[in-house]
Symmetry: D2
Subunit: 330 residues, 4 copies
């Protein structure tokens, strides 16, 4: 059994990670931490986990083979020294995902730049081999995961891409905030960052494509859809052929149906799973491609991907503890 | 033109009141107050009101014929001295709705008990005559409005009633609060007060019936439904006959259809209006009645009723500025 | 009083039109038609209208100064002969919005091509003068309204535009359809027509810009947002300056705030009103503009605009019976 | 491996059953049937199951150890002869849940009354031993499951109970129906059967308590909450003590917390799982109890319970293939 600890387990990503680890056949959770909830049972914070016998602690003296840092951006770099060397680390914040240059452009000053190069970018579909050997993995952002996987097969031809994202409220985390209360956040199509989003940094690093992100909050609790537009001089078959690079990926489903309702990816069809659904459309008249990419932002966009990375790092089958079909309808 | 001021105009009840007053043909808004937003345009807080040329002030030196206090419970009694005598007052808090005894049982100590008797309880369907002469009106609570109007015709026979309420998130106000953020508050059926709710006090006072309120938060932004159960030894026709006391009420719609989908009140059918839809069912086998009552909690359960009271107090037709059919579907 | 008849009043656009006309101070509704519901009271179909004393008829022998055709595409051209000459006509279907060539490209064969030129395209902001004199007006589509108003000020520089639309379920009409039932249609971000949508025809005709529409169904009952991308070599101020052509329009609100939550249009802020909220963003680094345009699809995208056209055609103030601030939050 | 066939696999209950069986470690699915979709891949109907290699068939010549009948009420009794004797049968319709007398009172004439007694009522918490030996199991209804488990511990004292149910749209099945389309079914609190619901028959049979069901459709895709009121002369501790009969049940979670948000069951906390959350409140002043019971209607209220029954019938650990924590937030 792999002994796992989750640092910062009171947020949505942390809670989802505890859920996945609790059901994972090769994992024993040895600690979940939270300053605010130290001493409380896990179900006081994550009511779905009632019956799971775990309490939050605020001590870092746990015994772990792998430590997940599910803390906010900027916090990982402050606390990581406590854990370095004691266990493999999977960091779910943005702190070690991109180069110092990109980090400082998109996020601000970095306090541990010397560590960045020691981290592997934890997108298994692109970096499986390096992850296998890694001690330190930086788990990708949710928007970045959806967009990188969609754009990667086209990185040689798409110089820039318009990325119109539709995201759910759980991506905003579990913070009190008037703009996030139910009366305000329900029934919106709210643009909160036209043209610029910090997850762009990861896309640039991984694909070389210059994305223009416009993020729209929509009335979903979970899930995200990326609609990606770029010029493409080819055929529909060319689009498909490039996407077929993913044909053996266990968590990528290509949506290539020609009839019926489900011809395009929809976050509704991936909720509760680690799948990425990728589909496409081609406009021959205007030489334009659209790639569509849908994920559950808390799973493939967070905790599921972290477990996938753990599986690889520990030599397990990559799908262990992750073979869940989505819950539908929900 | 009636000069109206709204004190505490940044909440949902306050915002809805400003909207209704801005469209009222006989009203001129002379001030809207907010400490937090003083100096800001109204649309920075209520984005639906973009185009309405009003700014919040934190001064109370306005010129008004009627002052609406749209402040939290406990605040009205603290600030009311500033306004007494200068204008008619419609208080939308709970501070002056019930007797000192009931207030102290349900809310706690009262700081201005000597004023309570000077207020008229502002439910026009029951107190139209007193409201007409009143200088001070206490506007009813949203749950209380729905329940009192439903129970009043049965007050002589229903000694106690089970009141199962389904309420929307706007009733909780515009406060930051983790339990209210969209991921937490969406898709709930959340009981937050089994058996006891402060609005019971008003029901007891107005009907003499002892209600047992159980409030369930459901996934609505607006609207509420009360499902009220009590023993009844009679016939369906008896139920209807008693409800017909409301037949000439401009804002009560009796739902008595025998076929189709819309045989029972539903908050969906009253959104954006000042209507109360009241319907019923009778279980002869068990001698049980159900009365159903649906309102828009921010309008008939708050601002609309306040405007209705104002109309009566100023001798206008009671429906002036309130003759809106509900928006449907929404 | 203007005598108005609504042909095809059982759908959402028809129901909303009846609601607006019932509250219009200068209108008397003389007939509402429906084959399916002939003889039934209006509230059996539109439960919000309980209390409005109207019944559906299936006869066309009504007395009307203006006839609204709220029937499906393809039906108006079949029935219009019954009404020609007897009254002014406002057609809410697509049948007479665009030239025969565009119609046949986007919709199929046209049965009354000789009538097309007699219709004025009923977008008041662009065709007020012609509407004033018109006997026959073709009311624009909902997506087209939002997109045309957003693109028109840029028609000389935007040759093509990527139009990413987020639309609500009421736009799909009131038809039974498995894909539309609540369990299937809730929580989707469903692409149903990448790159091609019939409302493009209107955009091409009115602006000359070639739009690439991708329509996403989102979890809204009402409202739509258009996010429109095009290359722009200028400054943010240039963008604003062009939009200021609308500064005196009664139903266009420019969203130009620099701080706060409401810096961009959101359908949530226009529900229940005839407003179009238009905003923008500029990406200087990439020379790209975004124009955002939000409407209530049943009002400015349908019935409200029809009433606005009627007001103009009958010499009334354009805002008569339409001066409603949006309902918020809802 | 247990060979399993699902007859009628295109509905929501059927789809959820296929999902659970596909992830079950001891099951091989040998057939899924549908007349309408014969020949189609499972994901054309259940898009969440993309990647699962199964096609619908309309033949009944499959090889199965257990056959699940996921067909509408009235259909099981018509087709069951085809399967009798060939395999164990778990019927998910209402056809064999209750005695002939109750069936005919609540549903109408029964075509196979002689078979009713051969079926065991498949509520494992009450009938585990009989299920273990059964060849034929009648899987309970969703509302009945929630209500029976809540009332059973009080069957000696509660002669009658008011049962106020809040149910989701997936309980209505996957049928086209104007009343179920998204614009109509969103944001409702719709009473569709005051006082009478067919699931009462099961409650009467299993508990002897006379329930008065009032079912309210609320804006949920999944989940249900039962709020059950009855007179109780005791103490809060008595209530708890009776519920403790379930303390060793693997799928019942007693919600007995005294602080925090999660003091009462909420369907939001059980989605995607086979759990029943049961909680309570006591009103000493009025000698009234409330029992609250929340389930995922498609899992513990349908497919999960069917799998639980299968596990028992085949001597597996009862939780095999069902140990999923709920997905939260969703």
């Amino acid at each position: 059994m792999i002994k796992a600890a989750v640092v910062g387990a009171s947020g949505y990503i942390g809670g989802e990670l505890v859920r996945l680890l609790a059901m994972h056949p090769e994992v024993e959770i040895t600690a979940i931490t939270s300053r605010k909830y130290a001493g409380k049972k896990v179900h006081k914070v994550h009511p779905n986990l009632r019956g799971l016998d775990l309490r939050f602690t605020d001590k870092y003296d746990f015994d772990a083979d792998v430590i997940f840092l599910a803390v906010p951006h900027g916090t990982s770099m402050k606390i990581i020294d406590e854990f370095l060397g004691s266990a493999k680390i999977i960091d779910m914040s943005a702190d070690f995902r991109v180069s110092k240059e990109l980090y400082e452009k998109y996020y601000g000053p970095h306090e541990k730049p010397e560590l960045i190069d020691k981290f592997v970018y934890g997108l298994p579909e692109l970096h499986r081999k390096e992850i296998k050997k890694a001690e330190l993995v930086a788990n990708p952002g949710c928007n970045a995961t959806a967009v990188i996987l969609a754009l990667y097969p086209f990185r040689d031809i798409a110089k820039e891409a318009i990325v119109d994202l539709k995201v759910s409220s759980s991506a905003g985390g579990r913070r009190e905030n008037v703009a996030s209360i139910h009366p305000e956040r329900s029934h919106v199509v709210r643009v909160y960052k036209p043209f610029h989003h910090r997850h762009e940094a990861e896309v640039i690093q991984e694909t070389g494509v210059k994305p223009m992100f416009t993020v729209h909050s929509v009335d979903l609790v979970r899930g995200l859809l990326a609609t990606i537009y770029f010029p493409f001089d080819g055929t529909e078959r060319d689009l498909l052929r490039r996407l077929l690079m993913y044909r053996n990926e266990p968590f990528i489903r290509l949506v290539t149906d020609k009839g019926g309702l489900q011809r395009y990816p929809d976050p509704k069809y991936v909720i509760g799973s680690n799948f990425v659904d990728i589909g496409f459309a081609y406009d021959a008249e205007n030489s334009r491609a659209i790639i569509l990419s849908a994920i559950d932002n808390l799973i493939k966009g967070g905790s599921g991907q972290a477990v996938q990375n753990m599986n690889i790092m520990f030599g397990l089958d990559e799908t262990t503890g992750l073979s869940y079909y989505p819950v539908y309808p929900v």
